[in-house]
């Protein structure tokens, strides 16, 4: 009986220590924000790198999501004679939900994994250790610029996803199906609020940027310095980041769009 208690106790202690380490790292990364502004070149290079990585997949996915939204939306709306509201439906779906969430999931899969693998392999190749021995803090020099680049690049990617998705919706809804262009754009303009819709969508992308970048970097930083360790860390990045993004999305939506 005592053995069970001891094992549970040990597991809880390990878990608490892990949460403590993660929190400490997160706080350090946040506090390193001003330092990153002073050396913005490092952040800019990473933004270019991470953004370029994800731009193609984000644009293409946005386009197809817009296509499908228009098809499905038209199908349902025309039953109630409100096909003219297609533009509003497509725009709200994208700006409020699909833009932030899907782009965050894609960012986790594309850029997050590469961050984890990069940091994990730097660790395995003793590059982080070498940096420490040169009296250079790897968290400040390597992790923080990547973290802030991820945070800054995520809203841009979310915006691109939504914009391309709306264009896709227009292509299918207006050009292919023949919904009136005036009501498509007009209803969208009248119904989408800059603050409550676009603004909240923007906040979501920032939160997801923080989440995905942090999870990816921490997984890389804590990875076992072996090929299997890095492989496991990369997989964990995708699983943990995706689940956290979806869970946070629910919480944020509940807080932002009160029923």
């Amino acid at each position: 009986m005592m053995g069970v208690f001891a094992r549970v106790g040990a597991a809880v202690r390990i878990w608490l220590a892990d949460v403590g380490h993660a929190t400490a790292l997160f706080v350090r990364l946040m506090l390193l924000g001003p330092a990153c502004i002073r050396r913005f070149g490092l952040v800019r290079d990473q933004m270019h790198f991470l953004g370029n990585y994800s731009l193609a997949i984000i644009s293409v996915s946005g386009l197809f999501v817009g296509f499908v939204l228009a098809l499905q939306g038209y199908n349902t709306l025309q039953r109630f004679g409100s096909a003219s509201a297609l533009g509003l439906l497509v725009a709200l779906s994208l700006v409020r939900e699909l833009g932030p969430v899907v782009s965050a999931l894609l960012f986790a899969g594309r850029a997050g994994t590469s961050l984890t693998a990069e940091i994990g392999l730097m660790k395995a190749g003793e590059q982080l250790s070498a940096m420490e021995m040169m009296a250079i803090d790897p968290v400040a020099r390597v992790l923080a610029p990547r973290f802030w680049a991820g945070v800054l690049v995520m809203p841009i990617l979310g915006a691109i996803f939504s914009a391309v998705g709306i264009l896709g919706g227009w292509l299918v809804g207006v050009v292919m199906i023949g919904v009136d262009a005036g009501s498509f754009w007009g209803q969208m303009q009248a119904g989408v609020d800059v603050w409550s819709d676009v603004g909240n969508g923007f906040i979501k992308t920032v939160v997801f940027g923080l989440t995905v970048s942090f999870i990816a970097l921490r997984q890389g930083f804590e990875a076992q310095a072996t090929p299997e360790g890095v492989a496991r860390a990369t997989t964990r990045t995708v699983v943990m980041a995706s689940l956290t993004v979806l869970a946070l999305d629910f919480v944020l939506t509940a807080l932002m769009f009160k029923l």
Binding site: G125, E126, S129, A130, M133, M134, A135, I136
Partner: protein, 275 residues
């Protein structure tokens, strides 16, 4: 002046272990200033651990690690980083930054720690690269150079801030005879011309004995022998003899502890009866 006063590094009764596995059990040693000290011993004997303790990457469970009379284990991060700026470490496989050219790798510590104009950075980097014979390789990436060259680049990088102490973690591992000789000569030359203190962790008896002023042999978590290369070579200690003559049998066992072979192979059961 006494020997103690001239030692740059001093370990006093240092105990260290990974989890439950002890690695160092009461190690005390001194590294004299201006000399090349070789740290030798079987794999897994704790040689690299000693370097990491000196660099402050690990903290001793008990005992003191003194660098220029400062207890490294007690330092806070900023003070530790100040001490590390006086040390250079060459990692076993170089640990070069794979996304940077040879030039940028060597320039990295300068650019991070100083505000020198780029013209001066260029001059210093080229001088260091010249010292290791790789001025011509400045634009190559680490993936485009050989292992021996990578280690020389790492050496240039470790020296770029003119450290007082150079630590070499297995600088000869995996090198061809020519690169090996070059690396050994470089270590000695740099130590003498720049007035450094060097610690070389190595398995290579010939080259290491050739360049070292002092040899320390670590075995089973303790110091087995300490002295000049000649003294160590002529030691009567069975363990040191085994190491110096590279004998498979002796105090250092070839086999990792295991159950009896006849039980493992099923020739005899644990009760002693034959199956």
């Amino acid at each position: 002046m006494s020997f103690v006063e001239t030692s740059l590094i001093q370990l006093e009764d240092v105990h260290f272990g990974y989890g439950d596995r002890p690695v160092l059990e009461g190690v005390s040693l001194k590294v004299p200033k201006g000399k090349v000290t070789a740290l030798m011993g079987a794999s897994g004997g704790g040689k690299t651990t000693v370097l990491r303790l000196i660099g402050g990457q690990y903290r001793a469970n008990s005992g003191r690690v003194l660098f220029d009379a400062t207890d490294i284990g007690q330092l806070q991060r900023d003070a530790l980083f100040q001490s590390r700026r006086r040390m250079g470490m060459l990692f076993q496989f170089g640990a070069l930054f794979t996304d940077m050219t040879v030039f940028d790798n060597v320039a990295f510590p300068l650019r991070e720690h100083t505000r020198l104009p780029e013209v001066m950075v260029r001059d210093i980097v080229l001088m260091k690269l010249q010292a290791v014979g790789l001025r011509g390789a400045r634009d190559l990436l680490p993936s485009q150079i050989s292992g021996g060259m990578a280690r020389r680049v790492a050496l240039a990088r470790a020296m770029v801030l003119d450290p007082e102490l150079m630590m070499y973690d297995e600088p000869f591992a995996g090198l061809d005879p020519i690169s090996l000789g070059t690396a050994a000569r470089l270590i000695r030359q740099l130590n003498d011309t720049l007035g450094l203190t060097s610690i070389v962790v190595s398995h290579d008896l010939e080259e290491t004995f050739h360049i070292a002023d002092q040899v320390i042999i670590l075995a089973n978590g303790r110091i087995a022998a300490q002295g000049t290369p000649a003294e160590v070579r002529n030691s009567n200690d069975p363990l040191v003899k085994q190491f110096v003559s590279a004998a498979p049998d002796g105090p250092v066992r070839f086999h990792y502890p295991a159950p009896d072979a006849d039980i493992d192979f099923g020739v005899r059961s644990t009760s002693g009866a034959k199956p």
